[in-house]
């Protein structure tokens, strides 16, 4: 492998690693804010996760989660944080497309696009 190319690879990976950490810490912050609101409002209600009911429709997709967040609902804000967390590796894959394009590595641009489409399908198309 050419030293120049491996240097670029390493630089891209450092950038991606930092992006991932920032994404995780930010989403943890959002989840914590939502968690405090949720516990303040519902902390003294009895707990029930024994029976599986599935989440209500508004906590299942992006639009519903944003609507709940704007109403400052604790569960909605937590879900927004979790959505950001799931989006973090997706963003990493999206940035890799540009990284490989910059190295003019067409084959890996295609591979990365395939992974990116699978992730988008899972988030949006699988409903």
């Amino acid at each position: 492998m050419l030293p120049e190319r491996s240097w670029t690879d390493q630089r891209i990976e450092n950038l991606l690693g930092n992006l991932l950490r920032a994404g995780v810490l930010f989403s943890a912050l959002v989840v914590s804010v939502g968690g405090v609101i949720y516990l303040l409002r519902h902390g003294h209600s009895p707990v029930d996760f024994r029976v599986f009911r599935g989440e209500p429709a508004d906590l299942r997709d992006v639009r519903g989660i944003i609507r709940d967040t704007l109403k400052l609902r604790g569960r909605g804000i937590i879900q927004l944080g979790l959505l950001l967390l799931i989006a973090t590796p997706v963003a990493r894959v999206a940035l890799s497309i540009f990284g490989f394009a910059k190295e003019r590595d067409r084959m890996y641009v295609v591979f990365t696009l395939i992974v990116f489409s699978i992730l988008l399908y899972s988030l949006i198309g699988s409903a």
Binding site: G17, V31, P56, A57, V115, I118, Y121
Partner: protein, 278 residues
């Protein structure tokens, strides 16, 4: 139990799971689902959703540290992620179709395997492996920093590795685990990639794989914010803490103790699955 008490207890247990998972290198995800479903009596589908989200947090949180060491191979990772994400979609779709008893039984078997692999000594990297045509075409061969400068390696058996990765992705989507051990197995044993490169590249892939099934779980309504909040925050805090004290702790006894715990949880999961309690 009130929601506040439940959140504090689940948060504290998840912190310990994340801490021990990071210290032993086995990951906390594998004990989370048994912990939630056996001790906190959470429905296993909610437990799997919570575990999956936590796996993304720990994998992505640790990535920055791993990347700086210069071991991970981004091309191997991306090429194999095609297999793991496709497998993850399959696993997540299976999770909605098979019974919870079946999931518990598969989980028990996978726990037994992880206990076995955690006791297995690391394989020594083979030197002088010949060039493989497919791996060379795919530009998978690479190098990593060694005591005497950069050491290069040649990747082998690409189709076998790809197939195992597909299976690892499917298990991750079905059970909500990172299936890091199986990913390392595919790279280190099948593809003859050096151990250190395999583990760091696997960590990078775990987050992307889990994200592929987490989307399906979210759309299905398996991600409960009230449950995931303490689990995700606890596991993340535990794993970040574990990464800091990693060097100071003797991990031999910890690994032994953790594998005993995993075996006990495996038996408990198998029993509950077979008797129809989960």
């Amino acid at each position: 139990m009130t929601i506040l008490e439940f959140s504090l207890l689940v948060g504290a247990s998840s912190l310990i799971a994340g801490l021990v998972g990071a210290l032993t290198g086995l990951g906390g995800g594998v004990v989370l689902v048994p912990l939630l479903s056996l001790f906190f009596k959470v429905d296993i589908r909610y437990a799997i959703g919570a575990s999956l989200v936590s796996v993304i947090a720990t994998s992505s949180g640790a990535a920055a540290a791993y990347v700086k060491e210069g071991f991970s191979n981004i091309r191997i990772g991306m090429f194999l992620e095609i297999a793991t994400t496709l497998g993850a979609l399959l696993g997540a779709n299976l999770a909605a179709r098979v019974s919870t008893h079946a999931i518990a039984i598969v989980f028990g078997v996978v726990l037994l395997f992880s206990a076995y692999f955690s006791r297995k000594p690391r394989s020594q990297a083979e030197r002088g492996v010949p060039l493989d045509l497919l791996a060379t075409r795919l530009r998978l061969n690479g190098s990593f920093p060694d005591a005497d400068g950069a050491r290069s390696y040649n990747v082998q058996h690409v189709p076998t590795g790809w197939a195992i990765m597909f299976g690892a992705g499917a298990l991750s989507g079905l059970l909500g685990i990172g299936s890091g051990a199986m990913k390392v197995l595919a790279m280190d044993q099948a593809m003859k990639i050096p151990f250190k490169v395999s583990t760091t590249t696997s960590n990078f892939m775990i987050g992307v794989t889990a994200a592929a099934s987490a989307g399906v779980y979210l759309n299905r309504g398996y991600i409960d914010p009230g449950l995931v909040m303490p689990v995700m925050l606890g596991v993340l805090a535990g794993s970040l803490l574990g990464a800091r004290i990693l060097i100071k702790v003797h991990t031999k006894w910890l690994r032994l103790g953790f594998s005993v715990v995993i075996i006990l949880l495996a038996i408990e999961m198998l029993y509950n699955g077979l008797s129809g309690r989960i």
